[in-house]
């Protein structure tokens, strides 16, 4: 194959000389690639965020959520006896229920609805590494905090006219509490869910006073090791199914939940990337159209080149390279733009509470660049073959 630097150089020169047409064709590719890259990057970022959340809990954690599979309110009330039963399962090291109830929080004459949560202080050490109770202001719980609450950042700054800062007093269901700390935004999303900023945490004793019908909204079960997880999950499931009926309580290991979430994210990402891919195919058609027009316009030029000594092969390579370059350059710009876009999206997401870091990784970059290059070459092939097979005698006399 007569592939040399001259053909390379001239294909680039030709693209430059075509000016506007090259630019317009490029735009098609750039948009397609940018869309795919930004969406993949954000999608990967979501995956990573979710995984990090789950990992902070540890992989030997099992989530027991009453009513979650029924998809509605928890009609099932798990009892202390249930907790004890779960604790007795082989391999289980901790069973930590989180109790939750709706309540009314009053401050400065205004009232809002909040979700109050509480856990047994003795058991809540499993959350130490998770950051769930990290505060951005004030402090977290210590020994004698029976009248203390931690409140979410949105409660502190958005929902009332007056800002709530540590040491202020709020009233919850009629009882006075001192705010000791404001929770960090990320701290309040269990397992990757959006932060509503409306969480309130208090000690179990306090909780029992202000809330009626105290029932666990979620139970974290920790096992001694990863190997114990699947046995424990089966045992918990069979116990709860027998007692409360099948599917009334959701029991999932962290891995299972992660898989489910990833599967959903995967589908969403695929759909959106598919749309981006379609736009890229359209961009490729744009390249083909542009090249066909170029061959038509340059028919005499092609005839001349052949008269001057260019073989059919040389002409073919020249045009394929032109199309390939459009793909590659469009790909490079598209990748840069795409990443820029994903950074923008993650910045916007962060400011509304999503801990979203877009991922810049090798596979996405190389994949996108290769894809763009291939689209360029494939789209340019047909017009290039046409150019190569032009009869020079006819081409030279083309009007």
């Amino acid at each position: 194959m007569k592939f040399d630097i001259d053909v390379l150089e001239n294909s680039i020169k030709n693209l430059r000389r075509a000016g506007m047409r090259t630019v317009l064709t490029l735009i098609g590719v750039i948009i397609g690639i940018a869309a795919i890259v930004s969406l993949l990057s954000v999608g990967q970022g979501l995956n990573v965020a979710v995984e990090t959340q789950f990992q902070s809990l540890g992989s030997n954690t099992i989530f027991v959520i009453p009513g979650a599979s029924a998809g509605g309110f928890s009609r099932v009330t798990l009892t202390d006896n249930d907790i004890t039963q779960l604790e007795s399962i082989r391999g289980v090291s901790d069973v930590v229920p989180i109790y939750g109830a709706a309540a009314i929080l009053e401050y400065d004459g205004q009232k809002i609805n909040v979700q109050v949560s509480s856990a047994d202080a003795k058991k809540s050490s499993i959350f130490d590494s998770t950051g769930f109770f990290d505060v951005q202001e004030g402090r977290t719980f210590s020994k004698n905090d029976s009248q203390a609450v931690l409140i979410g950042d949105k409660i502190a700054s958005d929902y009332f006219d007056k800002q709530i800062i540590p040491r202020k007093i709020v009233t919850i269901n009629g009882e006075k509490f001192t705010v000791i700390g404001i929770l960090k935004p990320q701290a309040q999303s269990f397992g990757g869910g959006p932060n509503t900023g409306t969480s309130v945490f208090m000690s179990l004793d306090a909780f029992n006073r202000i809330a009626q019908n105290v029932a666990p909204s979620i139970i974290f079960v920790k096992t001694t090791s990863g190997d114990d997880v699947s046995y424990a999950v089966d045992e918990i499931k069979s116990y709860l199914d027998k007692k409360y009926g099948e599917k009334s309580v959701m029991v999932s290991s962290a891995d299972d939940l992660l898989d489910q979430v990833n599967a959903i994210l995967g589908v969403i990402t695929l759909v959106i990337v598919g749309i981006g891919g379609i736009s890229l195919v359209v961009g490729g058609i744009g390249i083909m159209n542009s090249m066909i027009t170029a061959v038509l316009e340059r028919t005499r030029e092609i005839g001349l080149m052949k008269a001057l000594g260019a073989s059919n092969q040389r002409v073919l390579i020249l045009f394929v390279l032109e199309a390939g370059f459009i793909g590659m350059i469009g790909g490079i710009i598209g990748v840069i733009l795409g990443y820029g876009l994903s950074l923008l999206i993650s910045y916007l997401g962060a400011s509304s509470g999503f801990a979203l870091n877009s991922v810049i990784n090798f596979e996405i970059t190389i994949g996108a660049l290769l894809f763009a290059l291939v689209i360029g070459i494939v789209s340019g092939l047909l017009p290039a073959i046409r150019a190569a097979n032009l009869d020079p005698v006819v081409a030279l006399r083309y009007e």
Partner: protein, 242 residues
């Protein structure tokens, strides 16, 4: 130029025919043509419209493969060559001058002259100096960076001549070189062709329907209905083959 031997031939056609169309409707553009052109000859080919002179030109310049017959250029049988071989051969051995100039519109005069050089693999460092020299020789040393649309017809044709000389071919083929030129430029161009013949001893082939152009050649060939009718030199006998 009396008897031509095979060794002196720079271009030789043996029983060359070109037939277009199939079945009942066939057009014989060239009909069993025998032709030999010697090294260093200045030949003009004339004929009316439809005579086959353009087809003959295409055959000589290897742009078209004949339906039957053999063509030799510098002793090499071009009718046996592959497309790639032909392209390279053509690029090195034949220089083209067209009636409509056929310069690349987006390139400067200099770039136009360099075009055949990159196509045919002239070393990079040689290209620009060689192109400059050629343009100066045709009197366009001050116009090197102009594009075709900034040049007159006569200037364009001179750029084309410089381009035709880029690979230093032994054969220059001109198809109606003065067809699109005013008489003054036309004279200039024909003078350059004369110089190429007399001073540089190149073989010149001019196809034309213009008598005043055709008669400047050393040997005149007339073609009609795909056959060579007359082939005569300046007061010498008709040249024959073998």
């Amino acid at each position: 130029m009396t008897r031509t031997t095979k060794n002196d031939d720079i271009i030789r056609l043996e029983k060359v025919s070109k037939i277009y169309g199939m079945g009942d409707i066939q057009i014989k553009a060239l009909d069993n043509v025998d032709l030999a052109i010697c090294r260093g000859e200045y030949v003009s080919i004339m004929g009316p419209s439809g005579s086959g002179k353009t087809t003959l030109l295409d055959a000589i310049t290897t742009m078209m493969k004949p339906t039957s017959g053999k063509i030799f250029i510098e002793g090499v049988e071009t009718t046996k060559m592959s497309n790639a071989e032909l392209a390279s051969f053509r690029g090195n051995k034949i220089g083209f001058i067209f009636q409509t100039f056929n310069l690349m519109p987006k390139l400067t005069a200099l770039e136009n002259v360099i075009e055949p050089m990159w196509i045919n693999g002239v070393p990079r460092a040689e290209r620009e100096p060689r192109a400059r020299k050629l343009l100066e020789e045709v009197g366009l040393g001050d116009r090197m960076n102009n594009r075709p649309n900034q040049l007159s017809g006569g200037q364009k044709q001179r750029v084309a001549i410089a381009r035709a000389l880029a690979m230093n071919p032994n054969v220059i083929v001109a198809d109606e070189p003065t067809g699109n030129l005013d008489s003054k430029s036309g004279v200039k161009v024909m003078e350059i062709l004369k110089d190429l013949h007399e001073k540089e001893k190149r073989t010149i082939i001019v196809v034309t329907h213009d008598e005043s152009v055709g008669k400047q050649a050393q040997r005149r060939i007339a073609i009609r209905d795909g056959q060579i009718v007359i082939s005569k030199g300046e007061g010498k006998k008709v040249s024959q083959l073998k």
